[in-house]
Amino acid sequence: MNRHLISAGDLSHDDALLILDTADELARMSERPVKKLPTLRGRTVVNLFYEDSTRTRISFEAAAKRLSADVINFSAKGSSVAKGESLKDTALTLEAMGADAVVIRHSASGAPHRLAGWVRGSVVNAGDGAHEHPTQALLDAFTMRRRLGRLDGIRVTIVGDVLHSRVARSNVLLLSTLGAEVTLVAPPTLLPVAVGSWPCSVGYDLDAALPKADVVMMLRVQQERMNAAYFPSVREYSRRYGLDAGRMALLPEHGIVMHPGPMNRGVEIAAEVADSTRSTIVEQVANGVSVRMAVLYLLLSGSEVTQ
């Protein structure tokens, strides 16, 4: 595997399966009384979170700690970063601290790429702007495989604001690498102009797509998009693209509902859908820790092997 995990597109089919299989074993180990493994003892993992995201940060923190790594949390608020320190200077500080891995979440697409040029450790992208969120895609694939038993050939429909979604980009790349069939459903305004070049199909009609979906993944839609004329009103969006109980009934028997969170209950997803047995939203969170443990283990082992 590469030194960094910045894009889901960097993962080959075998790399991706290795992560998922490793996560499987690690999930089992989480059922023991002692959940800690000594694997990354003496290593330092820095969480560099420029965007507020308690859930993802805690997930990475738990993953690193379960592998006995030392964790340093560096959040943008109230730090030198908030006072205008550049990403480069922050990177140099981390280097001086001897970070073996930096987990970065940033509002600017490409921030992990830049960081990778300035640190010697491994860079893990925890979400950069609208670009990618590879560990989210990995935990989504892990969840799908656990629920449905396989990934090859399953039909996944992703619904919502694809244009601004890093989760969508990573999922499209990873799922197609793993042999799944992906369909995007959204109003045309929320699809990138060049989406035709992506390894997936595109549709504008949610009702037509649902009967053929083994998985439906709802993306969060931000109300601010309404002000930039991406859709006329929240009501219209919800009516045409929201997943309510009626639509959920259109899914095949085994169909599952996913959401990367945080949810806008009542906008893209109805409360009763979010809370139903078809929904994997809660287990996605637990799976996140195992998947992130696998990623940290695979990136940091062998780091002293001379290439």
Binding site: S86, L87, A111, H131, A194
Partner: protein, 430 residues
């Protein structure tokens, strides 16, 4: 033999057969067979292409206001090394060049530095704010004799204001140079809207935002019978619109940058902001159309849009990095690579697109012609070397060139400004 006279032997004027050139009293005295001993100084021009001094219609010298990025002195040194004898300094300085006072200051700084003629461009609107016309007449009458007006950096997007500006400058033969960018369609835009923007998760800058403004402005210029110059054309669609406007006989001229002739949006894939520029790098189809447009004259000239930025404005995440690339020192080499190498343009054509036509559009006398009697503004260019571009060796204060490490052909060996060498043996003469 007069002091300060030069005899250049065996160079190839406009790429043609070797000839000698005698420079005397700041002018080209003779081109042909010149007897040895006719001049105080000699320069062996064997193997060198001789062109009229290059004229840049679009440069950012950053002074006053951003002297950390470039000054008139360092910028004109870079220009001379690139073979330029005249540059048009864009108005988006701080303070903005929207009054006679500021344009005269810039003009004087150019004369003081003395390496290259600096022709200030006046802003179209006060403070580049796009709402009120600047005192175009005062700038035209000033010592700087401004004829080219531009809000470059910003678009004059208000149709009424653009119409008025076009009409107003007819009184003194001015030309409005438009930076065509519909602002609302490009709010927050970072890269060309297309495959790359979708993949990289960066806000896209759609081609239509440039093309729609160009189309509107061509129609306006025709309607009021005035001259429009289009800055940094970057799309195939824009080339087509300009070709159509010219076919109607309308007074439309256009420029293209060296980087838009060579580089595509793929380079943004690594998120390195050295490739971030406005208008953005586009697709291979656009590059091909721009080359063809320059070759057939639809695009009149090459203009560098030299945009120096200090390191801290480029060594950041893409979204917060400044837009712009340096270009003065690499322009001729880039055009050599993009057009002469593939046989799209010969050296006479290069002289036309990089000297004669820009001089004409800028209404600059004394530049753009390689003829006896004309001021000796010349450049001698060695087409044979093929070296990697090294920004550390540049005279510009800034290092943001997208060609760093790229092998480009050629090297400017000498530049003469009114008969006085500013560059000799590939280095600044003083």
């Amino acid at each position: 033999m007069t002091t300060g006279s030069w005899l250049i032997t065996g160079a190839r004027p406009l790429g043609g057969d070797p000839a000698d050139v005698l420079i005397s009293d700041g002018r080209v005295a003779e081109i042909g067979r010149v007897a040895a001993g006719a001049a105080a100084e000699r320069l062996d021009g064997d193997g060198l292409i001789l062109l009229p001094g290059l004229v840049d219609l679009h440069t950012h010298l950053r002074e006053p206001g951003r002297e950390d990025a470039e000054t008139v002195s360092t910028g004109t040194a870079a220009a001379a090394l690139g073979g330029f004898t005249a540059v048009h300094a864009m108005a988006n300085t701080d303070p903005v060049a929207d009054t006679a006072g500021v344009v005269e200051q810039i003009w004087r700084l150019g004369r003081q530095a003395g390496r290259c003629d600096v022709q200030p461009v006046g802003a179209v609107t006060v403070g580049l704010a796009g709402s009120q016309l600047a005192e175009l007449g005062a700038m035209a009458d000033s010592a700087a004799q401004v004829r080219v007006f531009s809000d470059d950096g910003r678009c004059v997007h208000d149709a009424v204001l653009m119409r008025r500006a076009l009409e107003y400058v007819r009184a003194f033969g001015g030309v409005i140079a438009q930076h065509a960018q519909e602002p609302r369609l490009t709010a927050g835009a970072q890269v060309n809207e297309g495959v790359i923007s979708g993949r990289l998760g960066l806000a896209g800058w759609p081609a239509v935002a440039e093309e729609a403004v160009i189309a509107r402005d061509c129609l306006l210029a025709a309607h009021v019978g005035s001259a429009l110059h289009v800055c940094h054309v970057s799309t195939a669609g824009s080339v087509e619109i300009i070709r159509w406007a010219k076919s109607k006989g309308w007074q439309v001229t256009a420029e293209v940058t060296p980087h838009h002739l060579l580089l595509t949006e793929e380079l943004a894939s690594g998120y390195d902001p050295v490739f971030k520029v406005n208008p953005p790098l586009r697709t291979a189809e656009d590059v091909a159309a721009l080359r063809a447009g320059l070759a057939d004259g639809t695009i009149d000239c090459v203009a560098t849009d030299h945009a120096p930025h200090p390191l801290e404005d480029k060594e950041t995440e893409w979204e917060v990095a400044a837009f712009g690339m340096t270009g003065l020192e690499t322009a001729l080499r880039a055009v050599h690579e993009a057009l002469v190498e593939p046989g799209l343009l010969d050296w006479a054509g290069v002289a036309d697109r990089m000297s004669s036509r820009p001089a004409a559009i800028g209404r600059l006398s004394g530049h753009g012609r390689l003829l006896p009697g004309e001021p000796a503004n010349l450049v001698l260019y060695d087409p044979s070397p093929a070296d990697a571009v090294d920004p550390a060796a540049h005279a510009s204060k800034s290092r943001n060139t997208p060609f760093a490490g790229m092998v480009l052909p050629g090297r400017v060996m000498a530049t003469f400004l009114r008969g006085k060498p500013t560059v000799l043996d590939g280095k600044l003469a003083w």
